[in-house]
Amino acid sequence: MLNLIQTEFLKLRRRKFVWFMLSTSLIMPFLALLYFNYFGKKDIEPMQFYKMSAYGFTLFIILPIVLGMLCTMLMREENQYDMLKQLWIVPVSKMGYLLSKFFVVFVYSICFMLITAVASVIFSVIPGYVALEWGSILNLLEKCIIIGVLSAFVMLPILAIAASQKGYILPACVTLVYAFSGFILMSINAYLHPISSMALIVICNNDIPGVVLKQEMNIPFAFLCIGIWDIVALLLSNIALKRRK
């Protein structure tokens, strides 16, 4: 398994798109900087800044789309170049293959959120919008790591769809629908969608200002939602990879 994971990272050599996608982690911290600069606000609450730079669109839209693209990219290559046959006769187990891809997504997701966290701190503290407080920085880091870890699990259904497809159009389209539907369902029933469930887990301490929930907070339900989606995704991807022979 360790060899499989190592080779997954080796395969990413010279993939500029991977670095480009990672750079999108700077979008929201930068937009937050522009926003607070435009309104000329100083000494704002750190959580107010981080809500915009790390927890808002990054959680609901940017990170899911980036991870969806990454899942598609990871799965597409071997399908496109007809390499699966060669891998199966190594032999590589289908579950091992899928889990090694998942591990790449997992690490990437955490890196993405750590960059977002660092950029949020830099863009807020250096221009002087937010005072340097270690407590809020640690809180930001904690939440970013939670988002990074959970996002990888939340995107497992997209990895399953990418595993079942030779092309990239369907997984890319499904990623967009998946990300936006998570955002929309947040205000209807958050426990139906893994992304909205993840958002509930992130805000469970009620420490993010301006978030009003229409439903009662139930963290086990949120984990259950993610778990069910992931189990179904794993089963489907296993079937899809078996058919891929």
């Binding site: 993939r15 060669q86 006769i89 590589v92």
Partner: protein, 307 residues
């Protein structure tokens, strides 16, 4: 355990209502090069995929190294190297990097495995050229390098000369032969090019429309289909006695009650005819025949298609 490294029994593959492979039984002996010859779409790749367990078998049985492939994959795969259809690799990596990935996945212990396998196929080690920039010939070579990376006993090569230029084909043939002769590998190779199989294989299986039409050694086939003199006589036992004693003929075969084939074409036919007639053996006909393998294949497959 039998001497066959690959043995299939009544191997059948049905897609929908189409039978792609129909009750094929092939036998690949240890240390031999077995050529699977057939037109495009004859079922060669499907047979190879079934042998490798890459496609489910409708009915029949595959034994590799005397073991059932189904369920024994983990034990059998490390002993096999294969190229099925066009070998695919990561285009963003160099040949060496690609092989390093496969070496890592296989847990190849030999420290110089990548370097050695690249050397065997004549590709440079640690070259900076990306796989996406490789020519078709280089891609095929890299495919073979990957197949021999872990020093397998058995190689399954599906049309390894596909798309190569004539020089590339000759080079590929040379090192497939080398793998068999110098490294003692058993090789199952498929092709639709008769001349290629004729030059490479020790044994041959001719497949057409999913049916194995013939399986024999190349030597037997050549004997059946080379240049020979066909003689029809009234008394076959007496004729063979005369040929053996008077003319020292040893290379001949009996076709039926009255027909003989003499494989030494330098014999003086006039003298033979005279001797037979003089000893009361009527010569019904005698003729030089020159059946090529191509003629034979056309005859048994019922037409064109094998180059």
């Amino acid at each position: 355990m039998s001497n066959f490294l690959i043995e299939t029994k009544q191997l059948t593959k049905i897609y929908g209502d189409q039978t792609t492979v129909n009750a094929v039984s092939i036998h690949v002996g240890k240390g031999r090069i077995y050529g699977l010859l057939g037109r495009n779409g004859a079922g060669k790749t499907t047979i190879m995929k079934m042998i490798l367990g890459l496609t489910p078998i409708t009915s029949g049985e595959v034994k590799v190294f005397g073991q059932n492939m189904k369920g024994g994959e983990k034990r059998i795969y490390p002993r096999i190297g294969a190229i099925i259809e066009t070998p695919g690799f990561y285009p963003n990596l160099t040949g060496t990097e690609n092989l390093e990935i496969f070496a890592k996945l296989r847990g190849t212990a030999a420290p110089n495995a990548v370097k050695n396998s690249l050397e065997v196929v004549g590709l440079p080690y640690k070259d900076k050229k990306l796989f996406s920039k490789y020519s078709l010939g280089m891609k095929q070579r890299l495919g073979i390098a990957n197949a021999i990376l872990h020093d397998p006993e058995l190689l399954i090569l599906d049309e390894p000369t596909n798309g190569l230029d004539p020089i590339g084909i000759a080079e590929m043939r040379k090192f497939i032969k080398k793998l068999s002769v110098e490294y003692g590998k058993t090789i199952l190779i498929s092709s639709h090019i008769l001349s290629e199989i004729a030059l490479l294989a020790d044994d041959i299986g001719i497949i057409d429309q999913g049916i194995l039409l013939e399986e024999s050694s190349m030597e037997e086939l050549r004997q059946k289909n080379g240049r020979y003199i066909q003689v029809q006589v009234s008394d076959l036992p007496k004729a063979t006695l005369i040929l053996e004693r008077q003319f020292g003929v040893k290379e001949y075969s009996v076709q039926d009650d009255h027909t003989l084939r003499l494989y030494n074409t330098t014999l003086d036919m006039a003298a033979i005819n005279k001797a037979l007639v003089m000893q009361d053996v009527a010569v019904i006909s005698s003729a030089f025949c020159n059946d090529t393998l191509e003629d034979y294949f056309k005859k048994i497959t019922g037409g064109e298609g094998i180059a």
